[in-house]
Amino acid sequence: MKLSLLAGLCTILLTACSGPQEHVPDSVRIRWDSDPETLDPLQQPNQSSSDADNLLHLSLLQIDYAKSSYSPGLADSLPRIKLVGDSLTLLTYCLRKAATWDNGQPVLASDVAFTLKLMQAPGLANEGIRTQFNFIQELQPDPNNTRRFTLVCRGQATDFAHASGDFFILPEAALDARGTLRRYHLIDLINRPVNVAPDTVLAALARRYATIAPGQHPERLPGCGPYSLVSWKKDHLLRFQRKPQWWADQLSPLPPALQAHPSQINFLIIPNSASAVMALRRGDVDLYPNIPARDFNRLRHSAKAQQTLSFYNTLSHNVVTAGFNTRRPALADHFTRQALALLFDVPGLMNATQQGLGQRTVSIISPNTGRNYADSLPLLPFAPSRAVALLQQAGWRQKVAGPAARWTRQSPTGETQQLALQVRYRAEETTFETIGLQFRAAAAQLGIAVELRPTEASAFTHKLQTGDFDLYIKSIMGNPYTFNLVPILHSEAVGAGNLTGFGTPASDRLVEAVAVAQSPAVRSQLLRKLQVLLREEMPMVPLFFQYNRLVANRRLQNLYPSSIRPGYAAAAITWGPRSIL
């Protein structure tokens, strides 16, 4: 009995002691840290969900990772732009003739019109996308060409050229075969009161969509993307299979944004980074995006790892920022904010949190954006002694110089203000915690009391929006296309996206002008002015931009490491010869 048990255990161990699993040739295995939760094209709650939907569906414009810009996807070219008066923009698109759904039916303007209406229909999980695209108020089909149409957009901005083409086009025939939505005008759906119950047609559409449940069963909603989902084991694995005959295969030359090489793409969900590193080393994973800086550096300097792995490092558009609550009387003047900004030891923080893999910045505009970046501004130094001088300039006084004495000043109304700060950041974010600790140590040297308040994720946003903080530390996620800073800098956005509460008539005018700038040159000029103003007023301290770090099997090619999330082009990946290893 004992002998057979021992033999059984030995067999299991021997089976276990096998090498990495064999996988389909040309397939790629990519590590994700969490499940996408839903693949509903109307609702992408996280990056994984967005990446997966990009394999199943296509937009009018797709991101060309090689150029880090939008290029035609379903549309045959970038839109033709026409401004009408000072409040409307017309964008004319034409769909590619080759573009078809899986059943061979062509992708038509009517599908685009249907998708726009679906994005505004009640009872669907489309609240996020609804607010994002309600600037498109009408689709005017071309009576002579079923593939050509014009989008009528409210307002005028350079962003519209790409923003108007960045949503997945869905098949009308699969969701609304009888064309019941055609009787509605898009503008009526946009302006429809929320508290009015939907009529029978809209209610039936919502029920139909819920029954199809594309979020959980994407196979029921055929897309015109290059892949179909063949397996989804929640919190474990997603497997996408290349369609044997995809419409874009007949395009010549194949546009870079429509490349789809791997026969299979597997996303392996490995939440623990240490396990993911082991899986990468063992060859169970081919690509590990967004790897922690510590692991990236360790692997990069390991001779053994270098034999099988390649390392890529591109500047992202995520800027780590400290923001002041300018509504607090103690932080209402710019001298105080400028003084406190000098207490961040940015080079030291980059070494401590990013292993040196970051880029210092003078503003929240990425240094990668060329002439938009105000490179004439000097980087902020770590200068506690200059901070003392600025604090004194702001009217702050210590009874006795030294770390034991507190800073106080008299407000215009005669009240005594004390300089003590409460710093909020998301709990369990070690980068932000390290920044908070360094700031507290530097402030303590000057006699400024700093209390660190790590805060749970959802409570964090609420606390910042309601102004329950003195200083926050967070990263702002940007992208290379969006320069509309109204949501985070305009005074009308206080209580929502403008967390610092900062906003003057001059800054508001500049932010508005940037948003509606008609030419890149004018926009750059305005952005530079805005950055100078922000440096002077210092509502927030941009500390450094983070890098997108990728580690991949050495044989993987055409990754297109990019500053744009997710930082690589999954569908473009190819395998190089085995001799590379």
Partner: protein, 346 residues
């Protein structure tokens, strides 16, 4: 016995209902952030045009309606305080409240749908349990068997007793995360011993058994964590029973210590162990979040931890209900087991 069982089962059902209601009311009382409602973070730069404050308010309202959280929480609630001060008046909300709807749905067997992805809660819990139960079940079975064998051997005071006790004490002091990471970094590491896989793929239709040898390390973690407590408790209990009169009598009649242990003292020694064994049942259902996290297993522990982190209340309440029911059932079974093992327990 039957009356006792039904009485305890009735108490257990009431307790589970009270527990689930409490979790429901506490969790739904917390405000849902924009991210929880499926809206983008207003403080991020998103593509498309930024939404106006009014548009965001309307979107929030629509999302709350869709998720069923726009109604009052309970049968009565407190209104906003009057502008002039004074205590806020209470208001009767009738049956149009979230709790009433939830309770009615639960009684009909409808556990609701996930806020995050619209999937039925029962399906989510079912899929996670299909991964968790085989793993934790196997771990519990193996642990009990090993604890029994080890405790019986240690009770005979062999020469290796001291090092074995030291090892068990050391294992018990080791946090599960350290143990799991240690096993991973030592036995699945190309730089040390590359014996075990770090990740194993299964596709739709394949159960957790398809992971095969990949389960050895997670299983080892769970067994090594639970083993010391059960073994030490049983060993002490056996040693105590060996010192009693009936065990001395058995030995005086010529039985070997091994026979005395197995035939006479084991049954009595198991009684104090029952609460510890009963604790294993809810753990079977709740999963082992740390092991699932380190070894990338899609089980209940991870599901509930992520539901709590993402404020996915329907999944969270469903999970609490399930784990709570398992715990109370375990207590009832432990009571019944104790009565069976020792009829003197009234």
């Amino acid at each position: 016995m039957g009356q006792f069982f039904f009485q305890r089962a009735g108490q257990a059902i009431l307790s589970v209902w009270a527990l689930a209601s409490l979790v429901f009311l506490l969790s739904r009382g917390a405000p849902l952030s924009d991210e929880n409602l499926g809206l983008s973070n207003a403080a991020e730069l998103s593509n498309g045009t930024p939404a106006s404050a009014q548009a965001r308010d309307l979107a929030r309202q629509a999302a709350r309606q869709r998720l069923g959280v726009s109604e009052p929480l309970f049968y009565f609630s407190r209104q906003a305080p009057a502008p002039g001060g004074g205590p806020a008046p209470w208001q009767w909300n009738g049956r149009r409240n979230q709790y009433h709807r939830w309770l009615g749905a639960m009684l009909r067997g409808d556990w609701g749908t996930s806020f995050r992805n619209g999937q039925p809660v029962v399906a989510r819990l079912g899929a996670a349990l299909a991964c968790t139960i085989p793993l934790t079940g196997a771990a519990a079975g193996l642990t009990l068997w090993l604890a029994l064998v080890l405790a019986l051997a240690l009770a005979r005071r062999p020469w290796w007793r001291r090092p074995a006790l030291a090892l068990l004490a050391g294992l018990q002091a080791l946090p599960l995360f350290v143990l799991a990471t240690g096993l991973l970094l030592s036995l699945a590491n190309p730089d040390v011993l590359d014996w075990f896989p770090v990740y194993s793929q299964t596709v739709d239709g394949e159960g957790i058994y398809a992971l095969g040898s990949y389960l050895i390390l997670p299983l080892a973690c769970l067994v090594l964590t639970a083993l010391p407590e059960l073994t030490l408790q049983l060993m002490v209990s056996l040693a105590h029973e060996l010192g009693t009169g009936y065990a001395t009598t058995a030995r005086a009649k010529g039985l070997a210590t091994k026979q005395v242990l197995r035939r006479h003292t084991l049954r009595n020694a198991l009684v104090p162990l029952l609460p510890l064994v009963a604790d294993l049942l809810p753990a079977l259902v709740a999963g082992a979040v740390v092991v699932e996290f380190v070894f990338s297993l899609p089980g209940m522990g991870r599901l509930l931890a992520e539901a709590a982190a993402n404020h996915d209340y329907p999944v969270l309440v469903g999970g609490v209900l399930l784990v709570g029911a398992a715990r109370l059932l375990a207590l009832v079974l432990a009571d019944a087991g104790a009565r069976w093992l020792d009829p003197r327990i009234a």
